[in-house]
């Protein structure tokens, strides 16, 4: 059994790792890199709490081998805040009361980022499809959808 030496780009930072090939990206993020914002839920790609962005697109880190994201840009929830300032989407979630237990929130916010990056004025239908891969057991999604609309509006207005 051998380890594979790889370099990963996580939130614009390069990490050199020596890992067994069967390690998932989720495991490596949480256990090797201490980035515990990304969560483990169902472990089989259905619940969405493990969602991260790879080259800007939401994917399931629990179903990705860490080896498989070499040379690609990985964004976790930790990568959204810049210079100690939270991202407008994070602020909108707080302002709109879209967070209860918070467990779905990192994945949900990353999906929201992908929705808004794709369309600065997403209609509700697009928002609903965009978060259809993120399950929330607390909120009933209403305020989450509102928060995404608010975030998009604020980003459009350059706030």
């Amino acid at each position: 059994m051998r380890r594979y030496d790889i370099q990963l780009n996580i939130n614009d930072e390069l990490f050199s790792l020596s890992i067994f090939p069967q390690r998932t990206l989720l495991e490596v993020l949480r256990e090797d890199l201490g980035l515990i914002g990304t969560k483990e839920g169902c472990s089989e790609g259905e619940c969405g709490v493990c969602t991260v962005l790879v080259d800007g697109l939401p994917v399931r880190s629990c179903l990705l081998l860490a080896l498989d994201v070499r040379g690609r840009k990985v964004t976790t929830i930790e990568g959204l805040s810049k210079n100690g300032e939270i991202h407008p989407i994070q602020k909108a979630f707080i302002d709109e009361g879209a967070i209860q237990c918070g467990f779905c929130t990192p994945g949900m916010i990353l999906s929201a980022k992908a929705i808004i990056d794709n369309n600065l004025s997403p209609p509700e239908n697009e928002i609903r499809i965009g978060i259809s891969g993120n399950l929330c057991r607390c909120t009933g999604y209403v305020k989450i959808i509102k928060a995404i609309k608010t975030a998009a509006e604020r980003i459009r207005r350059g706030l």
Binding site: P21, L63, L65, S132
Partner: protein, 288 residues
């Protein structure tokens, strides 16, 4: 997951050689299905051959003679948003929109979806209705297999263990051919209880120039309604003939009872949704 050796072939030839050399190797494409199997210890491959590193397997090209050629490594999202697919065979894009959720659509590939061999997958009924052909390759050469011969049994395809699905070919359809994919699921985009794809083509007189019907979730494999052509092709499309095809669907499906639905319900819904898909396709074709 159990340990495996990880390989990134630089081209198809190398990939085929690796698969030939390592009898216990498996192909890694999107991983949306494979990694789940690995995590549950349902498969324990010695090697994973990551074919995403091979260039040229995710093109989509239209060939005037042969039809639309779709690389097997196109992800569900690539199918969904492809201008060529939305132009020549939008039923495939419709099927893609019904698969799971955006993150899975961003990872999973159409090739992987087919090779996984799930009886209720969304692409197979649409591809069956389209009369798709599959190009397979190994160290022993290439072969072309019609889609309705590709599925052998529950999660089992006709692929040899060292064979790679590299391309799907959608033959050109007659003008004024319209398709509909209807998916009956318990929650949004969850696993299909019954999936029906129906494609109807008509000429100016309303005579059927094309008919293709595929169903998923109602048998150990996705199935084709073979008698549909006998019933409708070359005849004036009318409700009684669509009814016949829908009743044929109900007669030949062989569904199971599970936590989502009973076999009786699936049989009944095979009839209802086949009728509905046929009518919708026909009405949309009339509008062209």
């Amino acid at each position: 997951m159990k340990y495996f050796e990880y390989i990134e072939p630089k081209d198809l030839k190398e990939a085929c050689q690796f698969l030939n050399e390592y009898p216990e190797a498996k192909i890694l494409a999107g991983g949306a299905s494979l990694i789940v199997l690995l995590k549950n210890n349902l498969i324990r491959p010695s090697h994973l051959v990551n074919i995403k590193t091979i260039p040229g397997l995710n093109n989509i090209q239209w060939d005037g003679r042969e039809g639309l050629k779709i690389g097997a490594l196109n992800r569900h999202r690539d199918i969904l948003f492809s201008p060529l697919i939305n132009k020549y065979c939008p039923i495939l894009s419709q099927a893609a929109s019904k698969i799971s959720s955006p993150p899975i659509r961003n990872m999973g590939t159409i090739g992987g979806n087919l090779c996984h061999g799930e009886p209720s997958a969304d692409f197979p009924p649409a591809l069956i209705a389209l009369g798709a052909k599959l190009k397979l390759i190994s160290t022993k050469g290439k072969r072309i297999v019609p889609i309705d011969e590709f599925f052998v049994d529950f999660y089992e395809t006709i692929l040899f263990r060292d064979e790679i699905l590299i391309e799907l070919i959608i033959p050109n359809l007659p003008p004024r051919t319209v398709g509909t994919y209807i998916k009956l699921d318990k929650t949004h985009n969850s696993i299909a209880i019954v999936g029906v794809a129906a494609l109807i083509g008509i000429d100016e007189k309303g005579i059927c120039t094309y008919i293709g019907v595929g169903l998923g979730g109602v048998a150990p494999t996705p199935i084709k309604i073979k008698r549909a052509e006998e019933i409708l092709l070359g005849k004036k499309v009318e409700d009684s003939l669509l009814e016949q095809i829908a009743r044929e669907a109900q007669a030949i499906v062989n569904p199971i009872t599970n936590i989502y639905a009973s076999d009786r319900y699936r049989k009944e819904m095979s009839y209802i949704l086949t009728k509905r898909a046929l009518k919708e396709s026909f009405n949309n074709a009339l509008k062209i």
